[in-house]
Amino acid sequence: MAVADATPLRPRASVVRQLVRSTSVVIGGFLVAVMVAIAVLAPALGTRDPAEVNPSVRNKLPGYEATIRDDDGNKVPVSYRFGTDSLGRDIYSRVVYGARVSLIVGLTVSVISIVVGLLIGLVAGYVRWLDGIIMRLMDGLMAIPAILLAIGLVSVFRAGLFAVIAAIVVPEVPRVVRLVRSIVLSIREEPYVESAITVGTPTPLLVVRHVLPNTIAPLIVQGTFICAAAILIEAILSFLGIGIPPEIPTWGNIMAEGRTLFRVFPHNILYPGIFLAVTVLGVNMLGDGLRDVLDPKMEQRG
């Protein structure tokens, strides 16, 4: 019989090129990159020790110039770009160092939630008899509000990074599990998965090879949203005084500290607020853009 004509090679729009073309990916990615750079380079950005208390420069407005003695007794001129708080700490340094905590919390929470949720979701989607049990358990976990859980965890353990991360991860995991499970349930019916079953591919290999890759794109997108939510919740918990201890600079802590004198010295809340808003905006825009590029269904509609 005749050999069918040469296979036409249709050019595949590269994912990278699509990402670069998407405005929200570019803007969001840029904002996130700036925040990461600030967090990593904090000591090199002209900051002082963010925990240093100096009673002589309490409650100064942004741009205040002062001369203070350093440890060796020499007089050095200091410029407080963002002003100082009621303990005389440099708000600029605290905001810049605060980026570290926010990004660590955001990244850790999203990675842990995705990994744990992915594993549980794969099991729930693939092992039929476990599905009902796991999903009811997840429904139960989802009913716990992060803030109440944080209060509980803080009263059992000490307030700190661990309690904050745990408090945010627990309600996020079920959302990831639901997402993964729904993808697994639809992919396992795909003819190519069934073909793999008929050629004798063992189940673990089947899941890793044919099912898992389909979950990656949606999980990256979900991860960005979890990251943004985690950064916000961490700020809320710190603001409420049940998160990271107040001596560690976080955006929530800075705002909590500035709350009492907000009307006289709004800069105490303004600067960490701006950084928080920009970071969350950047992460969300990145996630939106990624979804448009990675989700083929959205792409067709657009």
Binding site: M1, A2, V3, A4, A6, T7, P8, L9, R10, R12, E190, P191, Y192, E194, S195, A196, I197, T198, V199, G200, T201, P202, T203, R209, H210, P213
Partner: protein, 545 residues
């Protein structure tokens, strides 16, 4: 407005594709007309531009993607190409209307049938609600919907597929348009339902003098209802003529090739096979139980009931039936994608019906399956080479050896061996189906199940894949279980067929005997419904490419 003007005429109509497509125009210089009370079939394979033609007439080209770039479309002699949207909206529904392929998605699931049919009246006429209701009842009776008085308040999910398509036709015809465009209106329907809908469309056209533009890929349907036929390929009109001209004396080679590719309903004589039995099922049943504990009523559905089929080496046995007949359930039980509730599945003498996955594994390689949808049967993220060698490597073959065999298999199914490191999206549907066959053959199976394996393919490609299947069956002495709803395909490829209805095999025997003298009434009605049964189609399978 002169009454002699055709209902719709197209003159050198072109529609541009967005840049970066595989060609510059979706349709180029398309000209034809539909007269009053005439059924014109536009026939062509996928990508021929037949649906775009319909959208262009209705003024429904997707904005920003397709644009009319030239030519004139006249509705009853009046130019409608440049008309503003508001004017077009007035014409749609009143003078021209359209019905679609999917009767389920074309109806709003949360609105009553009566409201949906009456919507056109509400928009275009000053009738009172009571008058509207009366008119809706009249048209529902006209399209032979049973008991219009109670059905008018039903919701779409309470109707069958055929009834929904009748509702669509009622809504399209309620204002007596001069032009009805039907875009593959029976493709999603079973063959018996299709026959009823075709009859209804012909009746409506006769009684009301509506001009019908009927878009289809199925030459059986063309033979059944067309007065005139427009053949399209790659966005151009290849040939226009009366039905008999096109079907009996096609002038263009492309038309001739298409018609030769349509499988004939007359099965060729075949000698009965006496080789060893590769597959035997004995009273195979699959029962689904839904509901029960905590979730309402317990429902028991017998998807397959007491099915006994055997297939010998080198033999093709067909399971024929409409949707919901249980033919795919039987295939999935045999391939052990699901576990049968009861019965025996003997593969090379060993009962695999209830083996655990671990004990089953050695027998997996004996049964391979080729699925319907070529777009989904290969993992889009893996090269076709990786897909083909997956099975042999699972069973311990060295990847390099498996790849060497895969190259031979690619050649065997008519593809270049160099294409092994390409991804599925770089192949056409027919090519992907060839790859799926190669993947199945790589396991050196005893039984190959083809589950509607050619149903999603264009007729010319279908003929090639059928030839390939027959070829490999002979070469490897394969037993083939061929699941299909298409009687023409079954007639050409199967040695024996089993006809299924509601999970039960109602009739089984040699293909030629059953086609010559069906004994069960259901088989009778299936044959009677096959479109174009009065026309003998070209000996597609006999003609070598």
């Amino acid at each position: 407005m002169s009454s002699s003007a055709p209902v719709v005429s197209l003159e050198r109509v072109s529609v541009a594709l967005p840049r970066g497509g595989d060609r510059a125009h979706a349709i180029t210089d398309v000209s034809f007309e539909v007269g009053r009370g005439e059924i014109v079939c536009v026939v062509g394979e996928s990508g021929s531009g037949k649906s775009v033609t319909a959208q262009a007439i209705m003024g429904l080209l997707p904005k920003g993607q397709l644009a009319l770039t030239g030519g004139a479309i006249r509705l009853e002699g009046r130019e409608i190409t440049g008309l503003p949207q508001s004017e077009l909206r007035r014409l749609r529904g009143q003078r021209m209307s359209m019905i679609f392929q999917e009767p389920m998605t074309a109806l709003n699931p949360v609105e009553r049938i009566g409201t949906q049919i009456g919507e056109v009246l509400e928009i275009h006429t000053p009738l009172s609600p009571a008058e509207r209701r009366q008119k809706v009842l009249d048209i529902m009776a006209a399209v032979h919907l049973p008991d219009p008085a109670s059905m008018i308040d039903a919701f779409p999910h309470q109707l069958s597929g055929g009834q929904r398509q009748r509702v669509m036709i009622a809504a399209a015809l309620v204002l007596d348009p001069v032009l009805l465009i039907a875009d593959e209106p029976t493709t999603a329907l079973d063959v018996t339902t299709q026959a009823q809908i075709l009859k209804l469309i012909a009746e409506m056209q006769e009684r009301r003098g509506t001009g019908v533009l009927f878009i289809t890929h199925d030459f059986g349907v063309v033979a059944e209802i067309a007065h005139r036929v427009v053949v399209m390929q790659h966005g151009r009109v290849v040939e226009v003529g009366t039905r008999d001209e096109i079907i009996r004396r096609p002038a263009e080679p492309y038309t001739r090739m298409l018609i030769q590719s349509v499988p004939s309903l007359e099965p060729p004589p075949r000698a009965p096979k006496t080789s060893t039995v590769a597959l035997a099922t004995d009273s195979l049943s699959k029962t689904y139980v839904s509901g029960g504990f905590l979730s309402g009523k317990r429902r028991v559905v017998k998807a397959a009931d007491n099915v006994s089929i055997d297939v010998r080496r080198g033999e093709t046995v067909g399971i024929v039936g409409e949707s919901g007949s249980g033919k795919t359930t039987v295939a999935r039980c045999i391939a052990r994608l699901i576990e049968p509730s009861d019965g025996v599945v003997r593969i090379d003498g060993i009962d695999v019906a209830h083996l655990s996955e671990r004990r089953l594994r050695p027998y997996r390689k004996h049964v391979q399956i080729v699925f319907q949808d070529p777009n989904r049967s290969l993992n889009p993220r893996r090269t076709v080479g990786a897909s083909i060698i997956e099975g042999p490597v699972n069973f311990g073959e060295a990847p390099a050896d498996a790849m060497r065999r895969a190259r031979d298999l690619m050649q065997l199914v008519g593809l270049q061996p160099e294409a092994l490191d390409r991804y599925p999206h770089q192949f056409s549907g027919g090519q992907r189906q060839r790859i799926a066959i190669a993947r199945a053959l790589a396991m050196e199976p005893a039984l190959l199940i083809a589950d509607e394996a050619v149903s999603a393919l264009d007729v010319s490609v279908q003929a090639q894949v059928l030839r390939l299947l027959d070829d490999v069956r002979e070469r490897f002495d394969l037993a083939v279980l061929f699941i299909t709803h298409d009687l023409r395909v079954a007639a050409q490829i199967c040695d024996r067929i089993a006809v299924m209805q509601n999970g039960v095999v109602v009739e089984a025997g040699p293909t030629a005997e059953i086609f010559a003298a069906p004994s069960h009434p259901y088989t009778h009605s299936l044959f009677a419904a096959a479109p174009g049964r009065n026309v003998r189609f070209g000996e597609g399978l006999a003609v070598e490419a």
